[in-house]
């Protein structure tokens, strides 16, 4: 100790590289001396607060102490903390439905109860069960049975009415009693049940009830000419009724009631137009033209200086919300917040139909927008000060995030310059390219993991984000019995003790340690899987190609050879393969990074910071 002259061989110093991302903070601990670097360990923590603010201290502490513990060193031994100049972008998103289905005057009950009763098609006038007794009219009737009528009383009442000569053609039931009533009738009639708001069913109106045979779907009510035949509609009336039959396609049972002013409309909400302002040009596009058209236009306008929506329209409100949220986060006035990139994605949202009687859902089309703004610099300096106070050691801010990511990525075995990295994060997707001469180009595009979660949640109609996160992150399985489940690839797993009853016959996400998280929706496994993969493709594949195009020489993807995937979303079980599949078309070698040969796609920036620092101390 102290016997060596410092100029010849400085003592090894303990340094920590720290990368603060949108959602996670990563640390890398290493010993640096004149000769080189010895990496000792990495740590990870959830980012506390918005990145680039002093609230990050908590997360940094957690990540650093975690890494130190793994390296077996005390906090007091730490000499220097290296912070990167964080990517000055923050992402936000918004979603807006573009259509709305409205049923006026309760013309249709299109819900699909699990167990309708009877069979066939019946047409008649709606009559309440309580009024059956005094009915003398020979016209055929559809009986409306409220929930307080017991199934045996209902069946007896219907039989008695028939005996008196009333022509009963069908029934609508509030409770889940259709089969029970149907089984007790001498002659079967179609019965649709579970009509929650039965007291709103218009009485004295022409109605049709249809129940399909097992394995079939309804034929007449889902056919506009079937409706026309049943209700004697003119050509014009048939045209107006067409949306009703379309909404009923695929149902096992349905009820349609004809009221004088009844209607079902598929209203398009005026979404408004989006104005994209580039350096040289500004272009306007109607949002209803869809995501693809918006993204095409964006490519023509690039580089984007700002985006605004027409005031008073949905898209105007949407972008204003993003701007306000960003302004709040950064502390800048909203008018100085400029949107520097947008990603538009077509999506759909299941919504309860307004005016429905049985909680019917309709799929409404929607558009999701992820937007990115640049934040002010300078906040890192304040954060560094706060960290110095907290840790009592030297804290340095330096190194552009993309440069550091490239340095870290190049510790992946099998890589050399020129190489491009794609950092798949939570809020944004970042790309950087380093050529053989060491020149770096970088870009950031908006939309990443958080948008995927949002799309999954809305398309599956999931209420909590945790379930959507589970669907995104884990493979699906269907619990097929109390002791076995079938994974989405067809493999079957067996269990020694029974699976929880709440997962029985349900689709579950297969989490770590065999924990099963039920996915509460009515879709089959295949449908959920498809929605999940589509959401990932629409965000990550689109963004990977878009970002790589912006850094590729001449914007030509064919001139890229190697792409290394980094960031939390690169740990996903299928996103890397979806991107690799898409980039293979351009002859690109694309795979998940393995930083330092041990860390996988994590820790690249933190490692890069340490590597850069070591290079500097060697040179200096």
């Amino acid at each position: 100790m102290g016997s060596l002259k410092e100029s010849e061989a400085p003592a090894a110093r303990l340094v920590a590289g720290v990368d603060i991302g949108n959602s996670t903070t990563e640390a890398c601990i290493a010993e640096v001396d004149g000769q080189g670097v010895r990496y000792l360990g990495g740590g990870i923590a959830r980012t506390s607060g918005i990145k680039g603010t002093t609230r990050n201290v908590q997360g940094v502490l957690e990540a650093v102490t975690g890494a130190l513990a793994r390296a077996g060193r005390p906090l007091s031994a730490l000499d220097t903390v290296l912070l990167n100049e964080a990517t000055p972008v923050i992402s936000g998103m918004a979603m807006e439905t573009l259509t709305e289905t409205v049923i006026t005057e309760s013309t249709m009950i299109g819900h699909d109860p699990a167990t309708p009763g009877g069979l066939g098609l019946g047409v008649g006038v709606t009559v309440p069960f309580s009024a059956l007794g005094e009915r003398a009219d020979p016209a055929p009737v559809i009986v409306v049975i409220p929930g307080d009528v017991d199934y045996e009383d209902a069946a007896r009442g219907l039989e008695a009415a028939r005996a008196r000569g009333v022509v009963v053609r069908g029934a609508m039931v509030q409770r889940d009693d259709a089969r029970l009533i149907g089984n007790r009738l001498g002659q079967p009639i179609p019965i649709v049940d579970e009509i929650a708001l039965i007291d709103r069913v218009p009485l004295g109106m022409q109605a049709a009830v249809e129940v399909a045979p097992p394995g079939h779907t309804i034929r007449e009510l889902s056919n506009p000419y079937g409706l026309a035949t049943l209700f004697g509609l003119s050509a014009e009336e048939t045209r107006l009724a067409a949306p009703i039959s379309r909404a009923l396609v695929g149902s096992r049972s349905a009820v349609v009631i004809r009221t004088p002013a009844g209607d079902i409309t598929d209203r398009r909400i005026p979404a408004g137009s989006l104005e994209l302002i580039g350096e040289r040009t500004r272009q306007t596009i109607d949002v209803t033209e869809g995501a693809e058209a918006i993204m095409r236009l964006l490519r023509r306008v690039q580089p984007l200086q700002d985006a605004v929506g027409a005031p008073g329209t949905n898209v105007g409100g949407m972008l204003a919300r993003v701007r306000d949220t960003m302004a709040e986060l950064t502390g800048d006035p909203p008018e100085t917040v400029h949107i520097r990139d947008v990603l538009a994605v077509d999506t759909f949202v299941p919504r309860e139909v307004r005016g429905g009687l049985a909680g019917e859902f309709a799929l409404e089309s929607a558009v999701a927008l992820a937007a990115m703004v640049r934040t002010r610099h300078g906040a890192m300096a304040r954060l560094a000060e706060a960290l110095t106070r907290e840790l009592g050691c030297d804290v340095r801010v330096g190194g552009v995030e993309a440069d550091m990511a490239l340095k870290g990525a190049l510790t992946t075995p099998g890589t050399e310059r020129p190489v491009a990295v794609l950092d798949l994060g939570g809020g944004s997707t970042d790309a950087a390219l380093i050529n053989a001469q060491g020149e770096v180009r970088t870009t950031h595009v908006s939309g990443a993991g958080d948008l995927v979660t949002r799309l999954i949640a809305s398309e599956l109609g999931l209420e909590d984000e945790e379930t959507a996160e589970n669907v995104k992150r884990y493979p699906l399985a269907k619990v097929e019995s109390l002791f076995q489940l079938r994974l989405e690839n067809g493999q079957v797993s067996f269990f020694d003790s029974p699976l929880p009853a709440e997962t029985f016959a349900r689709v579950v996400a297969l989490k770590e340690h065999g924990v099963l998280a039920p996915v509460p929706c009515r879709h089959p496994l295949e449908k959920i899987r498809q929605i999940r993969r589509d959401a990932k493709r629409r965000v990550f594949v689109v963004n990977a190609l878009r970002a790589l195009e912006q850094v590729a020489p001449g914007g030509n993807l064919r001139r890229l050879d190697f792409v290394v995937l980094l960031g939390g979303s690169s740990l996903d079980f299928e996103i890397p393969e979806l991107i690799a599949e898409a980039t293979a078309e351009y002859g690109i070698v694309c795979g998940t990074g393995n930083v330092r040969g041990t860390e996988g796609p994590r820790n690249a920036v933190a490692t890069g910071l340490v590597a850069a620092h070591a290079e500097q101390s060697r040179e200096g």
């Binding site: 009693d177 089969r179 797993s493 029974p498 009853a501």
Partner: protein, 133 residues
Amino acid sequence: MRDERRDKTSQRPTVRVVYRRDALVALREVCAGLEEEGVPFECEPTDAPLLAAAHEAAARSRLLVGVAVAGTEACVHFSQLAVDAPVLHVTDASASMLRLLGQDAARLVKVMPLGTPLSRRAASRKSLKENAP
């Protein structure tokens, strides 16, 4: 003679429902649940304790599902489960709870998600962590 007939009926694929003689009101609801779901069932009286009776009924069911009803208490059992760990066990059940329990017994056969709320289910569930594949 009677035994012969019973042997014959037990050949049918049915959910076996056993009931205490004082539980006819509850039995009606449970059976209505099974019938609404369209699953065949057979009923017979029993004097055995509830869980054991349900388990024994499940063991004799060709669909491997048994239900036991006593007063406002009812239990759905599956033949391959331990006697003291039934699929569902409700006490103090309302008529609609009993109807739902009957439907769930049927859904167990049809491999469809159960509807009985979690809070009313048997609490004797082990963590899955113990039997990860």
